[in-house]
Every structure is written in C-alpha cells, then in structure tokens.
Symmetry: C2
Subunit: 210 residues, 2 copies
DNA sequence: CTGGCGAGAGTGAACGCTCATTCACTCCAT
DNA sequence: ATGGAGTGAATGAGCGTTCACTCTCGCCAG
C-alpha cells in the first residue's frame, strides 16, 4: 500500500499505445467478473500474455482502473472542447448530453457500476474517480458560463447543483441494469433526456442581462 | 450451484429473529469490504460467532443478500400500503418519495451499489434484485392507477416509463458517492425531488375523464 | 430428586483450491 | 553483447467449505 510506483501520476502522462491496447483487451473481463472477481491471471490471459509480463505494464488492478478512467476522461474533454467551439454551445451541449445518455446503454454501465462500487472501498480509486468527476464539473460550469454570460464564480454560485445533478442523471442511465423488460429502454432514455432538458432550460433562462 | 437448500424461497418466510440480528451485524462489513471482498470468516467474526456456526444460518453470501433484500422490500411494501390508505394518495406518494430521497444519503447507498454490481454477474442475485424492482414497479403503478382513476392496463400503458424513471432517480441519489464537496448534498436532494415532481405532475395531470 | 439422553447452538482446525506477486530464465532486435 | 519483451513455475497467504467435536439445555424414567 506504499505505492512507490505511484509517482508517475502526472495527469498528462500520455498512456502509451501498448497500455491502451491491453486496456481494450481486458475490458470485457472486468465487465464479466468485476473488480475483485477478475484475477490477475485471467486478466493476463485476456490480454494475451503471461502473468509476469502483464505486471510490467500494470502493477495492480487499481493502476488499470486509473488508466481506464484517465482514458475515458480524455475522450470527455475532447467532447467538451467541441461543445465550446460550436457556434451555439447550448444546443451543442444539449445534443452532446442526449447522445451520451442514449449511448450509455451498453456494458459501459456495468463497468462504471463496478468502478464506483470499488471506489467506495479503495481510497486510491476514489481519488481518481473524484478527480474525474471534479474535472467534468469544471467543464460543465465553464460551458454554463459561456451560455449564460455570467462570470465563473457567479456561474458556480448559481449552477453547481445543476451540474452535479446532470452528471447524476447520466450516471443513473449508465448504472441501470437491464431490467427484465418492465419498461422499454428507449422510452426511459427519452424521459431522462427530457429531465436533463429541464436542467438546461433553467440554466439557459437565467442569461445575464435579461 | 444446485441449491437444494433453496426450496424455502417462499417469499413470505418470516426471517426468524436470529437471522435478522445477524444481518444487522454483518451489514457494515459488506459496506466496507464489498460483496466479493468480504470473506466468510470476516463476516462470521462480525456476526460474533465461528465460521462453522455461521454456515448454519446462511449457506452462502448470496443467501445473505437475498435475505437483506427481502427485508428491505418488506419495509418498502409497508410504506406503499400507507400511501394507499392515505386520503390523498398523490400527496402521500410525493411525500414518501421526497423523504426516501432525502434519507438515502447514508451508506445504504454504498451497500446498494455493491448489490447492484454483484447482481450484474451473479444471476441468482440478479433474479432477486429484479424481483424486488418489479414488485416496487407494481406498487408504483397501482398507486398511479389510484391517483388517475385509470384501469391497471391503461395505467401500465401510459406510465410504466414514469415508474421506471422514478425508481432510477431514487437509486441515483442512493448511489451517489460523497463527492468531495462540489455541490452541497441538500441542494442536490432538493433538485432531485423537483425532478420527481415533474414526473408525478405528468401522471396527476392525466386524470381520467378530464 | 437425579441421572442420562438427545437436540440444538457453537467451535475451530483442516482441506483443497485460487489468488497476487516474484523471479530466474529465454528470446530477439539492435 | 546488451537490454527490453516475454515466460511460467513457485511461493505463501487467504479463501470457502466441511466436520468431528464440545457445551448447555430441557425432559422424562427411575
């Protein structure tokens, strides 16, 4: 637990291609077996290599999850950058949220549920997850600021809760297990999208100087 | 996996007091270590007894979770019965949902996240969780029917999605890990309550014969 | 009153197994 | 020949599960 290898925690380390490839290969194993359930030998086999060699790339399960989260975060940041570049950020954000909610149905959700559950008891994971959420928060608030015309601190004062709840809604869809068929998935998606619209409308209707 | 001991799966078996007491003692261990993370010897120690004796009460971890879920379900059914007895079921339901959302902050959430993650890969658990959700669904729809005056099948046709999303919102609050302080918990709670109100208002505004 | 008996609660060492982690080793391109 | 990539047997800790055992009652025959 002393983690002497943990120094290269620079948020900008570029995740070399080999690591990324391995991450892609072991994903399914994590989804199927869970964080505690997946053994290092199973993960190594899934990655197509021996245990010993596997340790050269990821010294622990936590390290893998960290890498996964960092990779996902990178994608999300890309999306936010696009939104800010768009001519109408409100429309772009709404559209981005909608498609994120619609996509989230796949087993991304299972993986995320697993990571969240694991984070609840491994503090080092919790730190990474918190870092990610905090970062998403920041981007969301920046976008809100652009939309409303408020300054950063005024935006934070008014809309931090909106941002938090928006994140929760996206997570909620992701975490939803496939219910036996009680309600059709696409209708649920549409309704959640409508609820996010309620939040965005509140933000948009508070434009500065109106 | 043959589960010959599983016959007493009658949904109405009364969960004898000793089992209930043990459940109360091991709860925290499950919360701290997770489903796979908590070992039988740890759980037995938490229950204040030896491993051997522990097996006399719960032949597997899944059995414990089943018992926990059944106990929770019993409480929820009690609440729904109250709502239906109330003079104005809409008000009672709204109030019940609100307080459920407000209470859900404690580590109930962690436990539920754990159970959900575990259910994603242990089919026998998934069955129990599905059973519970399905049951909650049913009660919610019954209440909706009472509120609107529609028949059961018409209510289901119109409002199954509303029920599903309401359940999701409650879960979302429960699953929320304590974020470092990005947004104050009570404001988030209030906003989620407002979103459930959006759903309930839609249901209520569709009263039959208006 | 008493002695013995059986049932239920409780014990913890022991079994076979899987796990995370290490390490002496081999390849092979440079 | 050097060093990075890769191997897989070995180690020891910890796991779920079992089982032979003890302890403590209440009960009834004598």
């Amino acid at each position: 637990m002393t983690d002497p290898f943990d120094q290269p925690d620079q948020p900008d380390d570029p995740l070399r291609p080999r690591e990324a490839e391995i991450l892609g290969r072991i994903r399914d194993t994590f989804v199927e077996k869970g964080f505690d359930g997946a053994s290092m030998q199973q993960l190594a086999r899934a990655a197509g290599m021996s245990v010993g060699n596997f340790y050269r790339y990821f010294p622990s399960k936590a390290a893998m999850v960290k890498a996964m989260i960092r990779r996902d975060l990178r994608e999300v940041e890309e999306k936010f950058a696009e939104v800010l570049r768009a001519p109408d950020p409100l429309v772009a954000l709404r559209c981005g949220l909608h498609s994120r909610i619609a996509e989230e149905g796949c087993d991304d959700g299972t993986l995320w549920a697993e990571i969240n559950a694991a984070a609840a008891r491994k503090p080092e994971l919790a730190a990474v997850v918190d870092g990610m959420e905090c970062c998403v928060f920041g981007h969301l608030l920046t976008t809100f600021a652009r939309i409303t015309g408020f300054g950063p601190e005024e935006t934070a004062r008014r809309f931090t809760t909106h941002a938090a709840v928006a994140v929760m809604l996206v997570n909620a869809v992701a975490l939803q297990r496939k219910t036996g068929g009680a309600a059709p998935q696409d209708e649920i998606v549409r309704m959640i999208q409508r609820l996010t619209d309620v939040l965005l409308d509140e933000v948009a209707s508070a434009r500065a100087g109106e």
